[in-house]
């Protein structure tokens, strides 16, 4: 069990460029969550999927951020026209009814 895999571990983008972050959940887990972590705001919920369907995206910024889960083996978080304030660690977690959530190591995004 390799755990939740997030790629890339680090990403540097220029202001205005697009960034795509990947998450591979643990096989068999039906739920996938995305969180953002910054020093100032702490851990913020962004969105989550259950059985690949979007369930709650209440934490997603309305513009520029989107998330998808095209199949049960991966989810993506896309940020268009990145801004310096998007710099953060983006954490993905997966879980199921009969198991605890497992977090990945995160993607550290730096927008310069």
């Amino acid at each position: 069990n390799a755990g939740v895999i997030q790629t890339p571990r680090h990403k540097v983008t220029g202001k205005g460029q697009e960034a795509t972050l990947w998450c591979e959940p643990i096989s068999g887990h039906s739920a996938v969550f995305w969180y953002r972590q910054t020093i100032v705001q702490g851990l913020e919920f962004l969105t989550y999927f259950r059985n690949q369907a979007p369930i709650d995206d209440s934490g997603m910024p309305k513009e520029r951020f989107s998330a998808q889960m095209p199949n049960q083996s991966h989810s993506t978080l896309k940020i268009q026209s990145t801004q310096p304030q998007d710099s953060a660690v983006y954490l993905c977690a997966s879980g199921s009814t009969n198991s605890d959530y497992t977090f990945g190591s995160g993607t550290r995004l730096l927008v310069i």
């Binding site: 851990l43 989550y48 259950r50 977090f103 190591s105």
Partner: protein, 112 residues
């Protein structure tokens, strides 16, 4: 809405001393409560959780926490800390839906 307050952002204890990290939650019903630990450049690891029953729950590495409904608290304790316990500790609440709401975290430093 659910929320968590961790009043102590930084805690320093001597190796071998006891530890308590405080957590207060806000939720209208009995929530699910969690403590996670985060080591540098890693994701969150579950220490322990409370769903129901015995208010004192045991976790990994000698950690335990006590749920108090009357105080809306879920404090984390350890009888004797080790230098390897130095990390950031997050309390989290899961109320309606499946998402977790986290406190701001407590950075623990264990001094020799």
């Amino acid at each position: 809405a659910q929320s968590v307050t961790q009043p102590d952002a930084r805690v320093t204890v001597s190796e071998g001393a006891s530890l308590q990290l405080r957590c207060k939650y806000s939720y209208s019903a009995t929530p699910y409560l969690f403590w996670y630990v985060q080591y540098p450049r890693q994701g969150l690891q579950l220490l322990l959780k409370y769903y129901s029953g015995d208010p004192v729950v045991q976790g990994v590495n000698g950690f335990e926490a006590e749920f108090s409904k009357s105080n809306s608290s879920f404090h984390l304790r350890k009888a004797s800390v080790h230098w390897s316990d130095s990390a950031v500790y997050f309390c989290a609440v899961q109320g309606t839906g499946s998402k977790l709401s986290f406190g701001k975290g407590a950075k623990l430093t264990v001094s020799p």
